[in-house]
Symmetry: C2
Subunit: 511 residues, 2 copies
């Protein structure tokens, strides 16, 4: 490799190292930071953001990329080097479009905004959060303006593109709206013509410490490496791929509905297994591409496909409970005595409109996302004022899910994303479901006895398939290209609908 | 204030902000970082150390200091500005003496060295740690050479001076050697002529979670602000003043000897209360000197005087147990039923030679430090090879404490300091005991009913005295000057000896 390319990678590594420090600070803020530390944390975040920004926008990086583009480094377009330079270019162009003061301001406001959100959420008091959200929306719009709307697109697309390269509102709308329609029909069909499964079994009271122990057991079984990771408790579950060899998950426990915490854990583990198997020098193979695009995840949509797959396609399957229940009965105490795998399988596969996204079932979850997509698009598009968010939120929940939102805590204050300045992020959750369903069909073709393996607690072949076909490629392929390569077709809604209809109708007794 | 001075303070703040991030990383490494993250953590530490070093040694800082020294900022030598500029000068001169590659190498080796120490300690295997220690000693010597030995002093003094400004080996030797002699005599007198107190009460088995709850209760009572701090568990207890409003303590629990954890907690709380009351904008008064010397602690010796005061002068007093025992009996379960304050007071005041420094009693603790001082001095002076450390350690423990060291885990591998590259740090522990004793006499003159207050759980007046007379001054006075101002005399060994002899002889039944 040329010295130029080496220097580019070296600079990427330095920059990624600072990013990893920032990730640690974010994790700490959500887990163990005392409340009194929030002002200082904002100052730390802003200071580091400024340094990271300088590093990422250093004109020398631009020169190196330009040199690599013209010196033959990319002559084989399928080479790792070509992919790296292509993606370094994308990152550099995005970074140089933002002025440093905006980056610093965003980091600081996000840190303070999250603290304001936490207390507003606890008190269900939107008004105290409103000035922060106005500031955050203003900053998000400024950010979008700096990136610029894509040709023929809208301002919001500029934010989408950060999380899901190339995604546009128009495309997402054209997928989500019919999906929402058919899922709405499915929910109506199930609840009007079918018999909802018995969910009494989920009311078993199980202490948090036992749930935690069981969660760790499942993590270990499905292949999340706990020597290079951990599981903590936060208000809002997340996965932070802090650094190579250091991937941290969080979940939350209630005494009832132990499966909420379990699926939270399995969901984040899906993200975590992706992070742990990226080729960034973590002891899983020789490649150490830390700081290079080849060591990074493709997009949030693909990331979410991994979390949804472990949560829903594995975790909510009959086969999973055939394996997991005997262990759960041993570890969770008497509360599950006499329960059958079939009972649990049915109980965790309902389609019941509800208020909280992260606790939503596999069907209605997508409607929660549709609502957020429509709202964000309107907010960034200037069609919805921040002060009108609670009313608009409640109206959409009534329209799409038929539920009345009793307070903002269970309404527009439930999610952390906006308080951290993340707008344009939510749609990737639904894209993840679509990708997961489409990949799942291909995986089952290639591992015909996958279901039997799962029922025996053999998760290795699935994990290896994902690592080999997705994780190990880093950002070598864009999301759409990867989907086409692995499934033979572009992303579509049919696999997800087949999966949901095929699972839910029998459970609800519909032929 | 001049623009120059303002810019100097602003740069100090930026630099302190990055220091605070580094502190968080250090805390995380000892508490929650998964083992797999250690290589990445070393890379993070090195990257940040390089940036911090650039910031601290920026020639612009030197220019600003020089300008302040000549533009009248220091015209009133007693002003806060004069103190700040004087101390900024000290920091700048120290920082610019170290080349960047050494700083980076030290940060990285310390991070990796700590991991190596952890596993070597667990296996009691000095040989696996030896190459790391050789590297760390080499780096410490290089560091000392960069600073240079003070006039007429030795190389080791250059390291002492980092932690205790102005301290020299010769002075420390002249205080420690007679102190060691008289304490050795005291230990002999107590154990030959006296009757050791009954310590059976300490064998009560108390679960860690209850001890933790009680520890938090005591922290709150003595004035450590848990809203701006926390208490976690680590192998080696410490206090990390992460950032303004964010001070973190750790302790460790065993089922027996609950007072070990309690005194660990109270010790670290003493450090923590100092950190929480420094004028760095934490809501304890209007001053926000974060990043200025006026917002920082004086020296490790003074820091240690605060921890030792709460641990030993408060915590090991009869009055403390009169207050604490009824609460302990409520919170710690039946194991302490029927125990009297007098029994506990006597049980925690023994003078019994032992192996582990952090569990040593108040008398023999100083002998543990004397040993480390002699060893470090010999190591840095080139008179002791790393490979000979275990033998030398064991020999000194036999000589000064009369104990046989059964393995390196309980010998030269017991402390974290050297693995983090900290040589020259240990003597400050004994200096802390001396300062604490001398301050304690003055405090008792000024708060004559302090003992009665403590027996009623009223710790506010003591905490306020410390905050007002020590904490709020930051680095305005050097340690020796502060001691002279507050006690009327230079630091001496007599108050500590008076305290120990006066407490221990009656307990051992010696008139």
């Amino acid at each position: 490799m040329t010295d130029t390319y080496q220097e580019l990678c070296e600079r990427g590594r330095q920059s990624a190292t600072l990013d990893s420090i920032s990730a640690l600070m974010g994790w700490d803020q959500e887990t163990y930071m005392p409340a009194g530390g929030s002002a200082a944390r904002a100052e730390q975040a802003a200071a580091l953001a400024a340094i990271r920004h300088d590093m990422k926008t250093d004109p020398r990086v631009g020169e190196l990329i330009e040199a690599c583009e013209s010196n033959g480094t990319m002559s084989d377009p399928d080479s790792p080097e070509a992919a790296n330079v292509r993606e370094f270019r994308r990152d550099y162009d995005l970074a140089t479009k933002l002025p440093k003061d905006l980056v610093t301001e965003l980091a600081k406001t996000a840190a303070l905004g999250q603290e304001a959100w936490k207390s507003a959420r606890a008190d269900s008091d939107f008004d105290t959060f409103r000035p922060w959200l106005e500031k955050l929306v203003g900053l998000a719009r400024r950010k979008a303006e700096c990136y610029g709307a894509p040709k023929g697109g809208e301002l919001y697309d500029a934010l989408l593109n950060v999380y899901e390269p190339g995604a546009t509102s128009a495309e997402i709308e054209s997928a989500f709206v019919p999906l929402g329609k058919r899922l709405g029909d499915l929910v109506a069909e199930l609840n009007e013509s079918g018999t909802p499964p018995e969910t009494e079994v989920l009311n078993a009271e199980i202490p948090a410490d036992r749930q935690h122990e069981f969660g760790l057991f499942v993590l270990d079984a499905i292949g999340f490496d706990l020597r290079s990771g951990r599981l903590d408790v936060t208000t809002h579950p997340f996965c932070e791929g802090v650094a190579p060899g250091d991937t941290r998950l969080t979940t939350r426990y209630r005494d009832e509905h132990f499966t909420d915490a379990l699926y939270g854990t399995m969901h984040e583990a899906g993200h975590g297994i992706y992070e742990q198997n990226l080729p960034k020098g973590q002891g899983h193979g020789p490649a150490d591409c830390f700081g290079q695009p080849l060591g990074e995840s493709i997009s949030l949509g693909i990331h979410e496909s991994q979390s949804r797959m472990w949560e829903n396609f594995v975790g909510r399957s009959r086969a999973f409970w055939e394996w997991a229940l005997p262990h759960a009965q041993k570890m969770l105490g008497d509360a599950l005595a006499g329960v059958t795998p079939e009972q649990l399988y049915r109980a965790v596969n309902t389609a019941r409109p509800s208020l909280i996204r992260v606790e939503a079932d596999e069907v209605t979850y997508n409607l929660h996302i549709l609502i957020r997509f429509e709202m964000e698009r309107a907010i960034i598009g200037g069609d919805l004022e921040v002060g009108d968010i609670p009313a608009a939120w409640n109206e959409k929940y009534k329209h799409y899910l038929g539920v009345d939102v009793p307070d903002d805590r269970r309404g527009c204050l439930q999610d952390i994303h906006w308080s951290g300045g993340m707008m344009g992020y939510f749609p990737t959750y639904c894209l993840g479901n679509l990708y997961a369903a489409q990949l799942w069909e291909s995986i089952n073709e290639q591992i015909p006895d996958l279901d039997a393996q799962i029922s025996r607690g053999e998760f290795g072949p699935l994990k290896d398939w994902l690592a080999r076909n997705i994780h190990q490629h880093g950002r070598r392929y864009r999301a759409g290209e990867l989907c086409q390569r692995l499934t033979g077709t572009p992303l579509g809604a049919d696999p997800l609908l087949r999966h949901l209809e095929g699972k839910l109708r029998p459970i609800y007794g519909i032929a």
